[in-house]
């Protein structure tokens, strides 16, 4: 798969992709929306794990230290499809949305020292909801269609370095940016009233740093038998102070616009993960991620609807024969499961998420793969007048290589 053909296919797929549908979880109204822990398609199918996954076969976006194992210029890109069925005391509804899940390129600079440069663009959060509300205030009957959209993304530059053969480090500078948008159409039953539109948006921008460490064969070095082949990884992402530029527009026959500037914070992220190959074919992974949201500020104020977030997941990958003659024996079969204590809490109840995942890694030429992953799960509850959601998340992407920047010995 050449780079040119890869780009052509990505562009064509984007053009042919269906229009992004409006609507989704009302929970995304809070904080920065749903936080997306996307480490790549392979990670997605493994329950979102990968902090401790040392591999040169894919660009691991969870831990910059893992770049060190990449020996060929590698690229990856993917799309997501989400489907959500929501149930609340007011009724039930279904929504879908679709989008680009980011692209990444990793360029090896020094194989001996594991120096690899990574460039990536990854979505960090997603806001998508569409709600209709009827209201009767002061005898004024109105209908409000409230739409939320947007989210945060991250553009990052990463660099890895392997001081020893089994120790790998990495750092990634993250530029976080994005716009959260709320659009309200206000209409009245009484035609003598003038309809109105409120258009609120906040643009965020800021910088954080992710530091990562990976240790191969931990058990061997620590003398723990049975864990010889255990690999472990740690990540720390520094807090990000985001500039928040808000623009609220109130539209009737004219437009009244009020702009304000403030700051918001994304708290630090601490993660730990392990991977363990049971045998030549079966690999197990597990991650734990912590993020303290309870004190985070949004435009200078805390949100009572947020709490600390915690995520734990496990994954397994079966690769029958990496270089087998049979195509289907070269396919990677993946599965996982996860529990996510989301940062949402409302009416005194936290919103927790459970899911199972699965996927395939279909081999392509030149160490490329077409990765398809699915996560199916549910979160929330209808108690306390909250919303319970069943979701299906699909991620489809490819990973390929190019022989760039390689030195060839001349005869």
């Amino acid at each position: 798969m050449t780079m040119r053909r890869f780009i052509t296919n990505v562009v064509l797929s984007a053009l042919l992709a269906p229009v992004v549908f409006a609507g989704g979880s009302v929970y995304t109204r809070y904080g920065f929306g749903d936080l997306l822990f996307f480490g790549g398609n392979r990670s997605f199918a493994l329950g979102g794990t990968g902090i401790g996954l040392v591999s040169g076969d894919f660009i691991n976006r969870l831990n910059p230290a893992s770049l060190s194992k990449i020996t060929l210029t590698r690229f990856s890109g993917s799309f997501y499809f989400n489907s959500i069925s929501s149930k609340a005391p007011e009724g039930s509804s279904s929504y879908s949305n679709f989008g680009l899940q980011g692209i990444a390129v990793a360029i090896p600079i020094s194989k001996d020292h594991g120096i690899v440069l990574g460039v990536e663009s990854t979505p960090l959060s997603l806001v998508s909801y569409a709600v209709v509300r009827t209201q009767d205030t002061l005898g004024i009957a109105s209908t409000q269609n409230v739409y939320g959209s947007g989210g945060l993304s991250q553009f990052a530059l990463a660099l890895s370095y392997s001081p020893t053969r089994f120790v790998h480090t990495g750092a990634r500078l993250n530029y976080v940016f994005g716009r959260l948008h709320q659009y309200t159409k206000l209409s009245f039953t009484d035609p003598s009233f003038s309809n109105a539109t409120n258009d609120f948006s906040v643009y965020y921008s800021g910088v954080s740093l992710t530091l990562g460490v990976m240790l191969e064969r931990v058990g061997e070095h620590l003398g723990i038998s049975g864990l010889d082949k255990l690999d472990a990884g740690f990540i720390l992402t520094t807090p990000a102070d985001l500039k928040a530029n808000r623009q609220n527009s109130y539209i009737t026959d004219s437009v009244l616009t009020i702009t304000t500037k403030s700051t918001s914070t994304i708290p630090a992220v601490l993660g730990f993960g392990v991977s363990y190959p049971l045998n030549q074919r079966l690999l197990l992974t597990s991650d734990v991620v912590l993020q303290s949201w309870s004190g985070a500020t949004f435009e200078g104020a805390t949100q009572a609807q947020l709490r600390n977030a915690f995520r734990v997941a496990v994954g397994a990958e079966l690769l029958p024969q990496a270089n087998g003659d049979s195509y289907w024996k070269r396919v990677a079969y993946r599965a996982g499961a996860g529990f996510h204590q989301t940062y949402y809490q409302m009416n005194g109840t936290g919103i927790d998420e459970f899911f199972f995942s699965g996927g395939l890694g279909l081999p392509l030429l030149l160490e490329g793969r077409l990765n398809i992953g699915v996560q199916v799960g549910m979160r929330g509850t209808t108690a306390q007048r909250l919303e319970k959601e069943t979701f299906v998340r699909l991620s489809v992407g490819i990973s390929g290589t190019e022989a760039w920047f390689m030195k060839f010995d001349e005869d």
């Binding site: 042919l16 109204r29 009724g91 739409y147 007048r385 489809v396």
Partner: protein
Amino acid sequence: MFASRTFSVAMLACLFLSLFFFGCAEDPSPTGVSLLPGGDSPLFRVDTVFANHDSTSRLYLNSLLFSKQLLVGSYQGYEAWSCIKFNIGRVPDSLTGLPIVGAFIELHPALTLGSASTPIAIQVYRLIQFSFVSTDSVTLDSLKLFPATYYDALEGSLASTTANETDSLRIPISDTTGIRASTEGSAGTTLFEGFLLKPNFTGSIRGFGSSLASANLLPRLVVQYLHNGVRQEYYFNATATRFIADSKPGPTKIGASMIVQNGISYRPIFDFDLSPLPQSTSVMKATLQLSLDAANSSAVSSSTVDSVVVYLMYDNGALEQRSMSIYTPRISNSGRPVYSVSITEFVQLWMRPSTVLRRIVVAGLDEYNSLDRFAIYGSGAARSLQPRIIVTNSPAR
């Protein structure tokens, strides 16, 4: 090649399947609406602002030529004279040379202000030149102070006559010399420039169809010929008409009530202070309420007394060309008749920071074609009667 094809097919297949697998999005639903924070709901408030000052704009009707009516008479300070020009041309040869045994100005009724039982008396003069009386600067004072400039010979008169509201009127023309000259095109004659109708009665104003009225109301000059002992009538339609009216500098205000008058129009101007409204707010609805002072009101036609026209006035006196008028009957506010006019668009304009306008001007409907006089309580009246604007608005959070 194979891998590339595989990829392309797989991607397109996934995209295609996603349409069926995930279904389509729905319109916004109420699911989860209670989870939205209360701050996402727009605030509403209702503010009432009262007029804090009033004055009057008095206009002479400069476009009287466009009036569909001719007014003649004197009533409650109004006085109106009328001018008519007829298209007097050659009559058919069969009538040429025949004796003229009678000529009349025939008028058809349109309205009555005052009592229809008041006897009517009108004097008819010959106009020097119709164009002299058709300019906007000509007033009744002009006609009274400089009569020789505008008219001369007395051509006819109508003695005190009682006519009902629906009766047509024929005013005799006693001197038909000029008519004959015009109809037979005699050399040296002066073309007939028309007649001036001067009221010689008080107690009512009678309105008749003008040259702009419908065919059945057009004024006509009727000339009677005697042919073989039989009277034959020949008609000439009016080609131009106007009435010139004035009123004594009557009161624009009676107590705390402001006069709204058609004909010679009085337009009350009310000032409002919108500063009690939040500076950053969206106006959803604004209603102007004016309370009628029935005791000081009179009307000619029931349709106009029930209708007002509201203008927005800039500080420089210019009017915003858009206007609001109502045609519905007055509403009752605790038994008191109130004009209720939606002026949402006005107040939205008003609230724009760049707009310098603070005033509402009230006029009667159909000012140029009716004769109404009614009173509206002004800023000096009791609070419950003062003009007010009720504004429903949504302040920015």
